[in-house]
Each structure stands twice: as C-alpha cells, then as structure tokens.
C-alpha cells in the first residue's frame, strides 16, 4: 500500500466513485433523452391526465396507469413495510441470536425467487382465492399489492436487521440501566438510532415496488381502467411498457419511454416526500 500512498488512494476512490456515478447518470440521461421530447411534443396535460390509451389512433393518455401504479405501490408498502420492520425488530431484539442468523439468509432466499415465479403462484393460488372470497376477477390491485409486498420483504428485513445490529450495545445498556424494559428500549432508543438504515430500506423497497414489472403483469389483469376498488383489474405503468415495448415503433415507442420518465419522476417525488417525513420527525444525524 505504501506504493500508492494516501493521495493515490483518494484519487483511485475518486475515480471509482466518478465512474459509478457517471454510469448511473448515463442511464438517467438515456431515459430522459428517449422520453422527454415526446412529452413536450404531445403535451404534458394530454399525456398525464387523459384516460385514453389507444396507440393505434395516436392517443397516449396514461392517467389510469399512473393511478394504478400509485395504488399498487402504496398497497405493497402498507403490507410490506410494517411486516418487514416488525420482523426485523423481533428477530434482533426478542429472539436468540442463532435463530436470527438462520432466518436472515432464509428470508434473503425470497429475494432470489424470480418475479415470474411469484407472478405464476399469484395467478394459480392468490387470484382464485381473492376471487372466491372477495369477488372481482381476482387479478387485481389487491393481488398485485400482496405479491409485491411479499417481494419487498427481504430488502426491508435484511437491511433493517443490519441497521439495528449496528446500534452500539452501550445504547441499550444505558437504557436498561435506567430501568427501561426491553420494549421501551427498543422503541425509544434502538429503533430511533437505527432509523436511517430502516428508512433507507423502506425507500429502496418502495423503488423496487414501483419498478417491478414481471410479477405485476401476471397478476394485475392489465385492463386500462381507473380502479375504483382494490378488486379491480389495473395496468401499471411498468406493465404498460413491458406489454407494448417489444413491438412499438415511432411515436408509440417514444410514448413508452416517456412513461419511463414519468416513473422516474414518481420515484423522485416519493423519495422527496419520504425524506421530508424523516427530517420533520427528528434531528439530523
């Protein structure tokens, strides 16, 4: 290491960071360049707020799909986030360490199961269940939210577990020494200290839920309608892109890339909202 020296290390790391970030910038620019021109030519209002999606006659309104994506992602977060954080807290603070050491890699196993398998199980098992007990076609917002909620669990659980484990033991000991119970320590001290990581996991999970394509195509039903109940069949923005991209040409293709831009904007907005929520609730690090 003496060969390179401190300054050298700094330069190498700068180079690495620079390449990584430019790679990511490349993708962002790619999406923007393919999609933005269309948005301005077609008209933002017509694109974002019209409900007519008929590429054959040149109509590209994606409003129902924006609503669908929001509902489905929200549903997934409502299911996945509480379950995930609760599971992470339970596994680190209320259960012997060896148990956690086995359960954690096993939940990460869920992350390795292809989204198409989730989708397939959704079609065969979940959709009929929903149809029989709740009504509707089964392939619905509810089915999509459940499947996505399960898919994001590994991300939330694993990263949250790591964040909670990283809280110094002295914090817990101090709290317990003051007479707090384990639960009081957990929710007033440990989880607060691990907040940054837990929120990061939720944000990553939200991104995943919003961007998931394969599983959603199979269980959402893909009808282009604005949902009025969780039992309605919907088409998310991602499903729309995937269903039509392979054969779309010209304006239609540009419209699909523009849909990608909208997705990017949506995730930016969701992230900003999440960031503001954190800042409001507590002090900065």
């Amino acid at each position: 290491m003496k060969l390179i020296g401190e300054k050298g290390v700094r330069r190498i790391l700068l180079g690495i960071a620079f390449s990584a970030l430019s790679a990511l910038l490349l993708i962002a620019l790619f999406i923007m360049s393919e999609g933005l021109p269309f948005m301005f030519r077609y008209g933002l209002k017509g694109f974002l707020f019209s409900s007519e999606w008929q590429p054959e006659i040149g109509r590209f309104g994606i409003f129902p799909m924006i609503v669908a994506s929001l509902w489905v992602t929200l549903g997934a977060m409502v299911i996945g986030a509480p379950l995930g954080v609760a599971g992470a807290v339970f596994l680190t603070e209320f259960v012997p360490r060896p148990v956690m050491r086995i359960v954690k890699p096993t939940t990460e196993l869920l992350a390795g199961i292809p989204s198409v398998v989730y989708g397939f199980i959704g079609v065969i098992v979940l959709a009929p269940l929903i149809r029989e007990h709740f009504g509707g076609p089964g392939l619905s917002v509810l089915a999509s939210s459940v499947v996505l909620g399960i898919m994001i669990l590994p991300t939330i659980i694993s990263i949250s577990i790591d964040s909670i484990l990283a809280v110094p033991q002295t914090y817990r000991e101090g709290s317990l020494a003051l007479g707090a119970t384990t639960w009081q320590t957990v929710h007033m001290v440990t989880v607060k200290a691990a907040r940054s990581g837990i929120i990061a996991s939720i944000i990553l999970a939200m991104g995943r839920a919003l961007g998931e394509t394969m599983a959603v195509i199979m269980v959402a039903g893909n009808a282009v309608k604005i949902p009025h109940s969780p039992l309605d069949s919907v088409r998310t923005l991602t499903a729309n892109i995937a269903l039509e991209m392979s054969y779309a040409t010209g304006l239609h293709r540009e419209a699909l890339f523009a849909t990608g831009v909208v997705l990017f904007m949506m995730i930016m907005v969701l992230n900003i909202v999440a960031g503001l929520a954190i800042r409001k609730r507590g002090s900065k690090r």
């Binding site: 009929p128 089964g138 009808a223 269903l243 392979s246």
Partner: protein
C-alpha cells in the same frame, strides 16, 4: 492466502471463457413466441447433422420478428399472422406451418360452442353476462393477449370487427392465458391449438371442433399460417435450413410437436 485462492477460483473460469471460438456459420431467428419453441426444436435437430452451423432462436413476438428481419438484428423473422402488414411486404415470406386458434373456457363452464358473431359480441363487450349466450348467470371475464401478439391479431382479423372491451384482462403469453382461464370459471380466452390440455375446454366455433382433422380439412375457422421472413438475398445456409423445415422430416417434427404442417 485464502483470499488469493478465492480470487483465482473466481477469475479462472471467466478467462477461460473469453477466448473460445465461434462456429463457421451463424444466424438468428427472432419473433413469434408461439413458434419459438418449435423453431428451437427444429434448429436443434438441424444442428445435429450440420455441425458447422450455429442457430440461435430468440422470442419477442411477431411484430419483433418483422422488425428484426427488416433491421438485420435477426436473419430470419418468425411471424404468426393471418396477413402480413405493409412493412413486411419487402421481405420474402415462406409458410412453414399452420396453427389453429382455440377459443377456451373453464371446464366447469356449461357452454359448448359459439358462432363467430357471438364471439365478436363477447370480445367487444356487447354481451357481458354468460346467460346472454346460453350459460349461467355470471359476468363474463374476457382474457386476451397483448396488442403485439400474432395470435391476437390473427384472432381479431379472422373474427372481424373486434374492438376489445376495456374491461378485458390482458396476459402476455399463451401459458398465462391458459392458467387464468383454468382458474376462473367465468373466463373466456383464446390460444394456440397446440396448447390445449385438460385444464381448459375448447369451444366449437360455428359448429366445428378445434381439432387437427377439422383444421386440415379446412372446416375450422380460426387458422393462421406461420411465416419465416427473410430480407433481400436468401443465403444458401438460410435456404438450406428453411428447406429442412419444409422437408418431410421437418414437417413431421412440426406435426408431432403440436403444430400443423404447411400444406
């Protein structure tokens, strides 16, 4: 020490792979997902007797098949359409097989068959309840393929005047349509005749069953050809492969795999 071993183990296979050579003649087929598995099987058989040829088969849908053939991304495009669109007129098209489209419902559904106008009304959304066509009192769940599917284009073209109802569910493959209809007593859909199994029931169309015999006899309505599309000059290697598919052996493979021969 351990770390060095680990690095070696990881990187050796990758370096070994970097160099290896490629076969003398290579071409790609791309397009119809319905025909893709059959193309793969035919390619596999062809390559056992032609060891210097390397054939790769990709999917993407009939529309991708036409586009790839036009752009050169693939040397042969596969399309399962009733009639080829404008842009495909520039390509040399050869019919290599035929396929019937079955209209399917859940085995628990009592209906036995429909006329073409009835099918049109159901898929247009004019008839929304099964009792309007002789079935139980339950809403009809229409399931269709996505807009770029050759199966869908053929279906809509043959039945004519179909503007798919906005309430239709869309699945993007034959397999998921089959699973959807198999799991929903009120669903109706369509798929390739070769995909029929006992989890779903095929309806009679205009009184005709969807069987190999009635399709070959020309009695069944929903039949579409499968085209192989080549741009410009057909090179000898490609011609040889297409001839193989059209030969007795190739057509026999097509028959035993579930499609119908070209003639």
């Amino acid at each position: 020490m351990f770390r060095k071993c680990a690095i070696l183990v990881v990187f050796t296979p990758m370096f070994l792979l970097l160099g290896c050579g490629k076969a003398k003649v290579s071409f790609t087929l791309a397009g119809s997902t319905a025909f893709q598995p059959f193309a793969e099987k035919l390619a596999e058989q062809y390559m056992t007797t032609h060891k210097d040829v390397n054939i790769t088969v990709q999917g993407g849908g009939s529309a991708v098949g036409i586009q790839s053939a036009l752009s050169g991304a693939a040397q042969i495009g596969m399309a399962d359409l009733v009639t080829l669109p404008e842009e495909a007129k520039a390509l040399t098209a050869t019919v290599v097989a035929r396929d019937g489209i079955a209209v399917i419902v859940n085995p628990d559904n009592q209906v036995v068959g429909f006329t073409a106008p009835q099918i049109r009304d159901i898929f247009n959304g004019k008839v929304k309840n099964w009792k309007g066509v002789g079935g139980a009192n339950a809403p009809i769940t229409v399931v269709s393929r996505e807009a770029g599917s050759g199966t869908r284009s053929s279906f809509e073209q043959i039945v004519r005047d179909i503007t798919l109802t906005k309430d239709a569910l869309i699945q993007n493959s034959n397999g998921t349509i089959r699973e959807t209809v198999a799991n929903d007593p009120n669903a109706i859909g369509y798929l390739s005749h070769g995909m029929l199994n006992d989890k779903i029931k095929a309806l009679k169309v205009d009184g005709q069953d969807c069987t190999t015999e009635s399709i070959l006899a020309g009695k069944y309505l929903l039949v579409r050809p499968i085209f192989l599309l080549v741009k410009g000059e057909v090179t000898p290697e490609i011609k040889d492969f297409i001839d193989y598919i059209l030969s007795t052996e190739g057509q026999q493979t097509i028959k035993t795999s579930g499609l119908l021969p070209a003639k």
